[in-house]
């Protein structure tokens, strides 16, 4: 049985670790410090409890958690056969993580880059194993989403792609293969949509609830773009838009100043309790709870 290393114990890393563990894989979950990884186990336990409510399978939290060990730093995943990296969408951070992983891991280890925007070829270039670096864009919440984008980089070998596809199938995911391009398919469209929705709010064209209501009621989307941003993380949205802007040097990707202000203010969405909506105020309060930003 292959050992899976999951690097980064934020929203995505937690979801990937849970998904792997609940499909029978042995997982080492690491972050830069053990306390963060330890806190992730609490979240995974809770998410397992909620699985059926979210339309997923009934899960025994103890059984899932028994397959996950935690650690800190790249050395903790040194024995992993496959590493799935989920750190912040910030190039300087990602680059440092890959340099450390390349040093720490066995030569045969495959690196899966879980990114919504950063080109895979660029990540592969900082390692000595570009043929074994491949991108997978997981969706959030990871265990509940049935499909991913699978992105080979310029040097990625067919064997790496095939092995990754097998892993994804074992995780219950359909892999949709797309070519390497900053933002791939999903985020070239989604990030612009969220960014433009933020501009609508910023310019006073509509409040957050009205923006989302148009998408839900007129288009039949299950969630509007600003609710989606709160789920993904407002900071993550900003970083992704910035990555697109820097990569394409195209002003159509200029980040809305509101995204930057909210990120600086700690309004990161559901994970911080407040984003475009407030998730912390008294639930019995008779208010709409749109954040007044």
């Amino acid at each position: 049985m292959d050992v899976m290393g999951v690097v980064g114990a934020g929203v995505m890393g937690i979801g990937v670790a849970q998904n792997l563990a609940q499909t029978g894989h042995e997982v080492i979950l690491v972050d830069k410090d053990e306390a963060t990884a330890s806190q992730a186990l609490v979240t995974i336990r809770n998410n397992c409890r909620m699985s059926r409510l979210m339309g997923g399978p009934a899960l025994d939290p103890d059984e899932v958690l028994a397959r996950i060990t935690i650690g800190a730093g790249a050395d903790a995943v040194a024995k992993a056969d496959i590493v799935i990296e989920n750190v912040t969408e910030n190039w300087d951070i990602k680059r440092a993580v890959y340099e450390a992983l390349d040093e720490a891991c066995q030569p045969g280890t495959i690196f899966i880059v879980n990114t919504s925007a950063i080109p895979i070829t660029k990540v592969a270039a900082v390692t000595r194993r570009p043929a074994q670096v491949v991108g997978v864009h997981f969706m959030n919440p990871v265990p509940a989403k049935p499909a991913v984008e699978l992105i080979p980089g310029f040097h990625t070998s067919p064997q790496t792609v095939e092995r990754t596809r097998e892993l994804l199938t074992a995780m219950g995911k359909k892999a949709i293969k797309v070519n390497d391009s900053c933002g791939f398919v999903s985020n070239r469209v989604l990030m612009l949509t969220v960014n433009e929705a933020a501009y609508l709010l910023y310019e006073g064209v509509a409040d957050a609830e009205s923006v989302d209501e148009v998408f839900r009621s007129c288009f039949g989307h299950p969630m509007g773009p600003l609710e989606t941003a709160d789920l993904i993380g407002v900071d993550t949205i900003l970083y992704s838009v910035e990555v697109l802007y820097e990569h394409y040097s195209d002003s159509k990707y200029r980040p809305c100043p509101l995204l930057r202000q909210m990120t600086d203010a700690g309004l990161h969405g559901r994970k911080s309790g407040r984003g475009f909506y407030d998730y912390t105020v008294s639930r019995t309060a008779n208010s709409k709870e749109s954040t007044n930003v």
Binding site: M50, R52, M54, T284, S287, E289
Partner: protein, 86 residues
């Protein structure tokens, strides 16, 4: 007790969705204005507000469809109900 819980739950749902016209027997999921993420919030609200721990096998959507079903769930999970059944 159950009426009190039911009213409390309706207050919580209406607090989040003021435009919703709902009664104790309305299926809030079928009405289409809440999603599964809100179900998680309902769980956390119930556990905190009524000081109960909902057993894992009770964490299914049918128990959260109506204020009435949530009231019944709270009754099943409360220490009084548990000791009465023992």
């Amino acid at each position: 007790m159950s009426d009190h819980v039911q009213e409390h739950m309706l207050g919580f749902v209406r607090g989040r969705y003021p435009d919703a016209q709902i009664s104790g027997s309305d299926d809030i999921f079928a009405l289409g204005f809440v999603n599964s993420l809100f179900a998680m919030e309902l769980v956390m609200f119930i556990e905190k507000e009524f000081s109960v721990t909902i057993p894992n096998d009770e964490l299914q959507i049918d128990n959260f469809r109506t204020a009435q079903s949530m009231s019944e769930l709270v009754a099943r999970c409360s220490p009084v109900a548990a000791s009465a059944q023992a």
